[in-house]
Amino acid sequence: MVNEYLTIHEARALLDKKEISSVELTQHILKRIEALEPRVKSFVTVMPEVALEQAKAADAAIAAGNIAPLTGIPMAIKDVICTKGIKTTCSSKMLANYVPPYDATVMQKLYAVGAVLVGKANMDEFAMGSSTENSTFFITHNPWDLTRVPGGSSGGSAAAVACGEAVFSLGSDTGGSIRQPAGFTSLVGMKPTYGRVSRYGLVAFASSLDQIGPLTLDVTDCALVMNVISGWDNCDSTSVSIPVPDYTRCFTSDLKGLRIGIPKEYFVKGMQPGVESAMKVAIARLEELGASVDWKVSLPHTSYALAVYYIIAPSEASANLARYDGVKYGYSYPDTDNMWEAMEKTRQFGFGAEVKRRIMLGTYALSAGYYDAYYLKAQKVRTLIRREFDEAFGKYDVLVTPTSPTVPFKIGEKTDNPLEMYLSDVCTLPINIAGVPAISIPAGFDNNLPIGMQIIGKPFAEETILRTAYAYEQATDWHKRRPGI
């Protein structure tokens, strides 16, 4: 029998030695899903037959010697990424029955190397949220403490990997939606540089901020998934043609020569003492590994990032979500012959509260009389935030911060106060605004609740981030802890 938890590289070794088949591994994962789903609820859709078919094909490929690192490995995919012939709901009533007629580019790439899709993961509706409580279907629970949220919006993708219901998963990150749930569930989660991974087939939320990225049990797995999903795509004109390196080749056991900056603005008011002390210990460990650490870095415009984000992201969302009109696909309000009434009612009943709130906010910020004061102003401050990162990266190779100011919060704790919910992404939002890459890795616990450390890099310097993360991981044991579920 296989372990309850396997990384991609551990599963690969077993598959290559013929100790297990992909079908056996997939059956093991499906059993785990059956046992844990009533309590965790990571998945909107689980497809045992589809998964076993794909596993069988992967076994045939392995037998024929046609083996890539992800061949035969079971994965979960956030339900915002289009899967041909398989429902893609965005955890919204609006798309509850939507079956895409095409695969996202990342799916084409993962299928091409023989990865096995076990299910579509729950999320905040249209990726808007920080706790997965905005799913129209149900709340996902944190495997480390079922009374707490797994973070969001990629909460289902995080919970699934954290409790062994998938070996790895993909999420999407517009303001922290991969990194914050990775931090909340003690996983490795990467938001690549804007343009590194194709967004074709990713249901659009905020097009200038969205990126797809992996959630994995360790840094090696993160690099293995990045190797597959990265690269230029003819179908995404914002993807970039910079060559994709082998991300596993940048690993070193020490960090000699690495210059690390600690931006003081990220140690915010309201940060929990447990998070702050864990970060200090973790950064001291990076220093022991040979890196030089400057604690006095300042990015003074950081405090404006929240406002910039909550103007730009809803503005883009209000335009992107205009497509849900009840005509081409999705929910359509049936009981009227009046076109405008049908459209308004379709959007009234098809969207949940947070989605409507953001459409309203974005429409307001873009409307006549307010455009200059809100949207244009936010875009200008965005420039200042980007410049600050550019300047910092003249002196430092990476910046290190906490991923979130708190450990996972209780279900229901922040649902009545949108602004307080928005604050849980305060350390991750600026990274999307600047478009730079960042990772969250396990960096400690407070009362058995996970704490994530964020490592931020220069545009397209994912290798430097992964090198830093790998060296830290090798020197610590946090990534080996598993929830007692």
């Binding site: 007629p101 970039v240 404006y304 209000s318 308004e344 509260a353 809100y374 980007r386």
Partner: protein
């Protein structure tokens, strides 16, 4: 708070109409309160000196990506139309735009 709300009930109704989102009475009251609260927090941006600063609309140095004008296969209409709430032949059926 003595401050006048940043957004009035009438503005909420106006924005809802622009966005074509129907709202219940309860939603109108809730959004008036919540959006005011959120916008109140955005006033901090006014303090930032952005004189001479160009806006950023996206973060990568790509401009006007063009593709060759080539005929390529498209999605299969029948597959696309299976998602249509109301279909007639190879068309989406919609409600009357112009009243009789």
């Amino acid at each position: 708070m003595e401050n006048k709300p940043k957004i009035s009930r009438e503005e909420v109704l106006h924005v809802a109409r622009l966005a074509r989102v129907g709202l219940s009475e309860e939603d109108v009251a809730k959004f008036t309160r919540q959006l005011s609260n959120i916008l109140e927090n955005f006033t901090a941006l006014e303090q930032v000196d952005t004189g001479g600063v160009p806006p950023t609309s996206q973060s990568i140095p790509l401009v006007n990506v063009m593709k060759p004008d080539e005929v390529r296969p498209s999605l299969i209409p029948d597959e696309v139309l299976t998602n249509a709430p109301c279909r007639e032949g190879d068309f989406f059926r919609i409600r009357a735009v112009l009243e009789e």
